[in-house]
């Protein structure tokens, strides 16, 4: 048996699985989108239906605000944990990466415990303070699973920055904020773009959290879900999935070409 033949045989299980359960189903999804009454016009239909457009805009808006917030919080925490060694540091780091393994539904439940009817905020404050099911609640849920993802990407990049750069800036008399602004942030720029793209794409596609919290909010994954299960509008559900998939895939491709890591868009 030649080594060339053996290598090909090694790829065979992967090739058959991927063909049967990834390539063919995705092809079917794209074709299925055009199988309705409008054919390929289904994409034009999306643009003409105010409900889809507003869901799309709402999803983009929430994802964008979550991305900005997660970048701000996680970059601050990552830089702080990167340059300070103190007892309890690794504990803080574990806490900040804990939600990585939480499914979206669990994240949704965490927000219900914070801001639901029996939630902490409602118990501690006078009056009726329930915002788990509002867009702010959804924002908090998305933020919850975005913080660890952004933190890990930024920390990995911060580790690689040459400390000599910072020392040089300081010896030249730069105050701390200028060191951050002129040295650290430019050095972190690729990682920040990558982390931002990951956070944005993850939030765009998040289903579990929206499923738990967005009972009244139209975000794209929930619209796809209701089109498919309640309205049985398979062509539209497929077309919206194709749009969503292309957006998140494109973003993550950009992210990876900038950072080189392996990142999943779960949640």
């Amino acid at each position: 048996m030649s080594i060339r033949f053996f290598s090909l045989a090694c790829l065979l299980p992967l090739a058959s699985f991927t063909l049967a359960f990834l390539a063919l189903p995705l092809t079917r999804l794209v074709l299925g989108a055009a199988s309705g009454d409008d054919g390929w016009g289904v994409y034009w239909q999306i643009l003409q239906t105010p409900r889809y457009i507003s869901a799309l805009l709402q999803t983009i808006w929430i994802s964008a605000t979550v991305t900005v917030a997660a970048l701000a919080i996680s970059t601050t925490a990552a830089l702080f944990l990167q340059r300070n060694r103190f007892p309890g540091r690794s504990l803080l780091l574990s806490v900040l990466t804990l939600p990585l393994a939480f499914p979206g539904v669990v994240v949704g439940f965490m927000i219900i415990l914070l801001a639901g009817r029996q939630g902490l905020v409602n118990q501690l404050t006078p009056g009726h303070t329930v915002f788990a099911y509002s867009s702010f609640g959804l924002f908090l849920g998305y933020l919850y699973f975005s913080i660890p993802r952004v933190l890990l990407t930024v920390m990995a990049a911060a580790e690689k920055i040459d400390p000599a750069l910072e020392e040089a800036a300081r010896t030249l008399g730069a105050p701390a904020w200028r060191v951050t602004w002129d040295v650290l942030l430019p050095a972190l720029r690729p990682a920040l773009i990558a982390a931002g793209a990951i956070a944005f794409a993850t939030a765009m596609g998040a289903f579990g959290t929206a499923f738990t919290l967005a009972t009244d909010i139209d975000v794209l994954p929930m619209v796809i879900y209701t089109e498919f299960t309640l309205s049985a509008n398979f062509a539209m559900a497929s077309a919206l999935s194709v749009v969503l998939g292309l957006v998140t895939w494109g973003l993550l491709l950009t992210a990876r070409s900038l950072s080189g890591g392996t990142i999943a868009a779960g949640g």
């Binding site: 048996m1 080594i3 053996f6 290598s7 045989a9 090694c10 790829l11 299980p13 992967l14 699985f17 359960f21 990834l22 189903p25 995705l26 079917r28 299925g32 919080i73 996680s74 601050t76 925490a77 944990l81 803080l92 574990s94 900040l96 804990l98 393994a101 939480f102 499914p103 979206g104 539904v105 669990v106 439940f109 965490m110 219900i112 415990l113 914070l114 029996q118 902490l120 908090l140 919850y144 701390a176 596609g205 289903f207 579990g208 499923f211 738990t212 994954p221 498919f228 398979f234 559900a237 497929s238 999935s241 194709v242 998939g245 998140t248 895939w249 392996t262 999943a264 868009a265 779960g266």
Partner: protein, 261 residues
């Protein structure tokens, strides 16, 4: 400088509190007799017992699926990673890229794609292997990449050449040289696969049937229809399973990275 540091620490601690407080709440609520009255109503394991009687089937299904997923991803991923590592280049990059698509496309879209193609095959649609396909789809890239990273870092070619001069054929070299060298990657990838499979919801929610509810599907169910104490106790059970796995996964991944830097 000192003020800036204090502000950074405060923000870091706030972020920690935001992530940690609800998990503690959920742990406490799961063992409190009446959450609305607070801890003074006493601690109890009755909610955990109730979760066990209601959902133990889901928990075992999830464990079984995760183990099956581990076996399948190992059998597919390790040989494939070897083949890709032997011939690094454009073709290998494209294959890796394509296999990794399920990381970039939302699970909901993948599930719709699977349902539209295979939904009408009743025997398959209603079988647990249909959910397994979804889990393998989502976790396979992690196994592939973990093993590939390890194999790319060692000098595979000269190791194999020495084995070949000693008369070992391709199959012997794979089993006796490649697999032992790939083990740290298989360990890291395997722990990731199991952790992700146990927590997978986005695909599973669409693929599951009323008779096949996995742990996270049961969680969604309990959040929607059970009292807060039961939902919390179930979440507590999930934490007890997932947190050690997450820690082992992070340990194995950083170990594999350290070994082959």
């Amino acid at each position: 400088m000192r003020i800036a540091k204090a502000l950074q620490l405060t923000l870091t601690l706030l972020a920690c509190a935001f992530l940690l407080v609800p998990t503690i709440q959920s742990v406490l609520a799961g063992v409190t007799a009446n959450y609305f009255r607070g801890l003074s109503s006493g601690l109890t394991l009755k909610w955990v017992a109730e979760v066990w009687s209601l959902y133990s089937g889901s928990i075992f299904l999830s464990i079984g699926l995760a183990l099956a997923c581990l076996v399948v991803t190992t059998l597919i991923g390790v040989p494939a990673a070897y083949a890709l590592a032997r011939r690094p280049g454009r073709g290998s990059r494209v294959i890796e890229e394509f296999v990794s698509l399920p990381l970039a496309i939302p699970g909901l879209a993948l599930a719709l794609a699977l349902l539209q193609l295979y939904g009408s095959l009743q025997g398959f649609r209603a079988h647990w292997s249909f959910i397994l396909v979804g889990h393998v789809l989502y976790t396979l890239p992690f196994m592939l990449r973990a093993v590939l990273a390890v194999l790319a870092a060692i000098d595979l070619r000269s190791l194999e050449e020495s084995a070949a001069t000693l008369g070992a054929g391709p199959w012997r070299r794979f089993i006796d040289v490649v697999v032992p060298n790939a083990l740290p990657g298989v360990l890291a990838g395997g722990l990731t696969v199991v952790t992700l499979s146990i927590g997978e919801f986005n695909l599973t929610w669409m693929l599951h049937t009323p008779f096949l509810k996995t742990l996270p599907v049961g969680l969604a169910d309990s959040y929607a229809s059970m009292r807060l104490e039961i939902a919390s106790a179930y979440t507590l059970v999930f934490f007890v399973m997932i947190v050690p796995l997450l820690m082992a996964m992070q340990w194995a991944s950083s170990r594999a990275q350290r070994m082959f830097r």
